[in-house]
Symmetry: C2
Subunit: 278 residues, 2 copies
């Protein structure tokens, strides 16, 4: 497969521990409809969130090397919050191509959106425990308060993306988060969705925030950031006639094929099972 690295059209590699990162791929396709994409979900070794930094770095580096060496990716987007938070440097060291994580672009979009400088962040427990979004926001002069919303990924995977129960759960989480923010004197006007599953809940989030508050989706933010970096290469090398997407997974291909289209907003096609070892 390495002859694909000689393709006239540069490939963008997108990596996630699961298939939630397909929302990032979806946003990338909207920005770059005439590119070739290779997506890898390391589903055999998820969840990354409960594993050590060293283990996550090794897994993510192996996945990145597959995308670069086997799929000819000339640009990598890490569509996994845990890997972006804990292993971005290790991935960048493992491959000779530019690597873009999902956290910094999200924080940058929040900075651009917020007038008060106070931002709320919702994410999984593992992402919140890493405090990667808070750190990235602080580095841009924002105050950020994070909340783990552990029920939202299961609700999305159950397909309840417009369900009244999901709306109620989001109301409960945001009410708690706003109360915590008020208690420490924050005046938030921006909500940052810091999980790749949450773009599927964007309408419910937009219905639950206060009037005038902005909802920032880190999947969209990373696609915007990728656009700038990628356009130069694409212009120099040409593009494909229409979007090409190739999906790979290390396990659970059935679940990937069944749930993937909801996240990608289009068919995922045949998902190829690959083995990256233990």
């Amino acid at each position: 497969m390495t002859d694909q690295s000689k393709s006239a059209v540069p490939t963008i590699g997108v990596f996630d521990s699961g298939f939630g990162g397909l929302t990032v791929l979806r946003a990338l396709i909207e920005q770059l409809p005439r590119a070739r994409f290779a997506f890898l979900g390391d589903t055999a070794r998820l969840p990354y969130g409960s594993k050590s930094r060293r283990t996550i770095a090794r897994y993510a580096a192996e996945s990145a090397q597959f995308l670069v060496r086997e799929q000819g990716a000339e640009f990598l987007v890490i569509a996994c919050n845990t890997a972006s938070a804990l292993a971005l440097d290790a991935i960048q060291e493992a491959v000779p191509v530019p690597v873009l994580g999902v956290i910094e672009p999200g924080a940058e979009a929040a900075r651009a959106a917020s007038r008060t400088g106070d931002v709320l962040v919702v994410a999984t427990e593992a992402t919140v425990q890493s405090h990667a979004y808070a750190a990235a926001c602080h580095a841009k002069g924002l105050r950020a308060l994070e909340k783990a919303c552990s029920l939202l990924v299961p609700l999305v995977e159950e397909g309840w993306t417009g369900h009244p129960v999901t709306a109620e759960v989001i109301e409960i989480y945001l009410k708690e988060l706003r109360a915590e923010a008020a208690a420490i004197g924050m005046n938030p006007d921006t909500l940052l969705l810091g999980c790749t599953h949450y773009p599927l809940l964007r309408r419910l989030f937009e219905g639950a925030v206060r009037p005038g508050a902005k909802v920032i989706d880190s999947a969209e933010a990373v696609a915007q950031a990728a656009l700038g970096r990628f356009n130069g290469r694409a212009a120099a090398r040409g593009t494909v006639q229409e979007t090409e997407v190739h999906c790979f997974a290390t396990d659970s291909v059935e679940k990937f094929e069944r749930l993937g289209p909801r996240f990608l907003g289009r068919p995922v096609g045949h998902v190829e099972l690959i083995d990256l070892g233990g």
Copy 2:
């Protein structure tokens, strides 16, 4: 630690891929309050549900060997539905002590409870996909209809065990399940809880079933089954003054120590981190 195998008091080993099996340990303690227990949660390698039968069998056999060789267990309870469904034979081959899974006793309790012979089973997606409860029920002359209730484990782990949202989710699942049962002419009078997290939702389930319907908890059922097998050994070898519980985990000791007491109904004490390899 192998000298513990020479203890005057026989040890019961309890194994799960996570810590949900602590509800089984809780039921065992109620039946056998003067025994010594060693509980192992293979938290580094969960979830088992998405892995192949061969991999699960290897993981479960390694865990069983730890409990027998290192902790001196003379009797093993497999408090993990996936391992019980897919690897009970492999575990029994790997260790020279009696092994009891969680599925057969659950099905037996359902048989004893049901008058119509029609049973509903709620469980995780992986357990439902294995159809292990349906097969065990059918072997006893029951008709069984299974439903995956994927939101319930996350709701329990969020601590929402008495929350109105959880009650609503259970209502939705049971309504769907009853409609499916009616459509195929079943007349169910028994609900079998086929997941080690669900005993924490027992009151909500009891409030959601039809009047007169029985709720069977496979954790209680396996403890009843263990009682009969263990009493002979205990009578011959003596008992401890009070319950002794030693907990081990292969990862995420913090989460185990934080959530474990809810499942066990008592402090879990210090959870020892062990390494079973990859």
